[in-house]
């Protein structure tokens, strides 16, 4: 039997204009016509020569870090955006679920949304009619069928959306992390449905950050890294493991000065990064449950009473989470700095961060006088990639919504 999906040399490049704008104003296009030098444009390879083939009935997981090209590959498979080069042959009716409830409109009733969403997903009207009762039944929304969707709870909207998607009957199904939303019960329902679909001989391509889901559902796994296929194998456990232990983790969790850095008599940074409980610099991604310390090494030629040294922690999207300084403990509790080499350590708070990549910057200054290392400028910075269970709750096996995932105690009366 010929492969159900056969990708050959799929490449996608985006042009990055350095004006950081995806769309243009007409004026800029007009003035661009008369400009001698074209605006500086950089080619960015979202996918580079990606080839793989999927047999009919296979369930294939696609994994990789954010920015590795997973979403781009999904979009190309779904025909939302075309490849720049290469081609994919698809044998069979293909449907893609990049989100559930595409086209849902709050002003329309449940009934109307079922028809609209179904037809956007590619179902024929008679198919929707034939399965209408089953869809409604599955969603558990009978009572609200003629109520505008905006009056539904968000959980109910999600169930209705998933119910429509569940009755899609394609030969090849492309799914994005639809499972990343919704409550635990809903996630179980989704997984159950996908297993049924997979067992019925349908071909599934499944993109996820959830390694547990990939492991239980998929029989093959593609590991994308910087737009290229790093690994593609039947040994799903092996691919997942090599992804998790991948040494090449953004800029890494350790910065080492090479003598070319800015110097100041008050403080000169020598090294900065995250170390484990034994003081060893980390490499690669780490499990969020461990004990980790931020370490700052620097030299002081002249002691200044207003010197503050610390770090700034940013979430993946650049949001500042907090600053922390060696002076935070207050008088008497702050570590003493001395002339010469200093090594400062500060324990990262437990059970605070979510799964994901965080950025740490070394910041320092003479308080209210001047910055020595000003945040968000060219200062020593490291990336910390946290993976693994983001909570002790049995209901959250993957990244939680929000910038942080603190463990907060609960009691009952």
């Amino acid at each position: 039997m010929p492969p159900a999906v056969e990708a050959r040399g799929v490449t996608k490049t985006y042009r990055l204009s350095h004006e950081q704008q995806s769309y243009l104003s007409f004026r800029e296009a007009l003035t661009g016509l008369f400009r001698r030098r074209p605006a500086e444009v950089e080619e960015f390879f979202a996918l580079r020569d990606v080839s793989f083939s999927v047999e009919p009935g296979d369930a294939v997981g696609i994994i990789g870090k954010n920015g590795a090209g997973k979403s781009t590959l999904l979009k190309i498979l779904s025909r939302i955006t075309p490849p720049t080069a290469g081609s994919i042959t698809v044998r069979g009716r293909i449907a893609s679920l990049l989100e559930v409830g595409t086209g849902f409109h709050g002003e329309l009733t449940g009934r109307e949304n079922i028809f609209l969403n179904g037809s956007i997903l590619g179902m024929q009207r008679r198919e929707i009619r034939a399965q209408f009762d089953a869809i409604v039944d599955f969603s558990g929304a009978e009572r609200f069928l003629d109520t505008p969707l905006k009056h539904f709870s968000s959980g109910m909207q999600l169930r209705l959306a998933f119910a429509v998607a569940a009755f899609l009957d394609p030969e090849i199904l492309v799914i994005d992390e639809v499972l990343a939303v919704g409550d635990a019960e809903f996630q179980r329902k989704c997984m159950g449905k996908m297993e049924t679909v997979s067992r019925s001989g349908r071909t599934i391509l499944f993109v996820s950050h959830n390694m547990t889901a990939v492991q239980s559902l998929c029989r093959k796994c593609v590991f994308l890294e910087r737009g290229a296929v790093k690994l593609f194998s039947n040994d799903v456990a092996h691919v997942i493991n090599s992804y998790l232990t991948d040494a090449e983790s953004s800029t890494g969790p350790w910065w080492q000065g090479d003598g070319s850095e800015r110097t100041s008599p008050y403080f000169t940074a020598r090294a900065f990064g995250v170390v484990d409980a034994g003081g060893r610099p980390l490499s690669g991604a780490i499990d969020r449950r461990g004990e980790y310390w931020v370490e700052i090494q620097g030299e002081i030629a002249e002691l200044h009473p207003a010197l503050t040294v610390g770090y700034a922690l940013y979430a993946e999207d650049g949001t500042l989470l907090y600053w922390s300084y060696q002076t935070d403990g207050g008088a008497g509790r702050e570590p003493a700095l001395r002339k010469g080499k200093n090594v400062l350590r500060s324990r990262l708070p437990d059970h605070l961060l979510n799964e994901g990549t965080y950025r740490l910057e070394l910041i320092a200054g003479l308080h209210f006088i001047e910055w020595l290392f000003e945040p968000n400028t060219d200062v020593p910075r490291v990336h910390l990639e946290l993976r693994g269970v983001p909570s002790d709750s049995p209901y959250w096996l993957e990244r939680r919504p929000g910038l942080m995932a603190p463990r907060i105690d609960w009691t009952a009366e």
């Binding site: 985006y14 995806s22 769309y23 243009l24 104003s25 007409f26 004026r27 296009a29 979009k75 190309i76 498979l77 779904s78 025909r79 939302i80 955006t81 075309p82 490849p83 720049t84 080069a85 290469g86 081609s87 994919i88 042959t89 698809v90 044998r91 069979g92 009716r93 293909i94 893609s96 990049l98 989100e99 595409t102 086209g103 409109h105 002003e107 329309l108 109307e112 028809f115 609209l116 037809s119 956007i120 997903l121 590619g122 024929q124 009207r125």
Partner: protein, 270 residues
Amino acid sequence: MISEIRPPSRFSLGLDDLWNYRELFYFFAWRDVKLKYKHTSLGIAWAVLQPLLLMLAFTLFFGGRMREETDLPYPVFAFTGLLLWGVFAAGLAGAGNSMVSNAHIIRKIYFPRLIIPVSSVIVALFDFLMALPLLAVLLLWYGLVPRAAAPAYFASGLLLATAATLGLGCWMGALSVKYRDFRYVLPFVVQLLLFVTPVIYPATYVKARWVQLLLALNPMTGAMGLFRGMLSAAAVDWRVTAISAASAGVLFAVGVWYFRRTEAYFADLA
């Protein structure tokens, strides 16, 4: 069923794809009609009230002055004009905005993008149909009898207007994905075009022949003539009609061509 996903190569109309997704035309148009009249206490009646109120206003202000200029009673003249103008104005505004307002769908799922602006024009045609009975009432009131060839004039006038609306609407829709400026330019242009289209004054109001022929480049000029031709033979100037028809044809071809040529990248830009 084998399909091939590859870089967009030569231009193709993709008619087979449009056919596969034909039901979506209906669903998008149906959605937009539903949303348009939801929460309005008068509902669909607005489709009738809008041209009616405009007609009354124009009759009040221009009716007297235009009495000598039109061979139809001015209210009938204005109403026929406003009916057809509604298709153009609402269709163009809807289609021009449609790609941006449906960006969230475009980013998440594939279907031939042409369906979106075309559905907006269908919505405008729906309003037109809803207001049509009022035209019949007006004709009865004034005791006007359509000419024998009226259906042909009616259909060709409407066809010309629809082709121009579709062409320009697709073009503006595609352009506004890339250049958001067009969202602001469009309402202004539609307003401006009203003054160079014989909606509330007859095409013969301007006496100089060369100006008449120049104005015929606006496809709605010819469309108005043909449409009113169902009531009065004098309304149709064949040379003007030919120029307008050619112009509508060019607009349609260029608009749809530009749309199809750029649609593959809408999801990257939207």
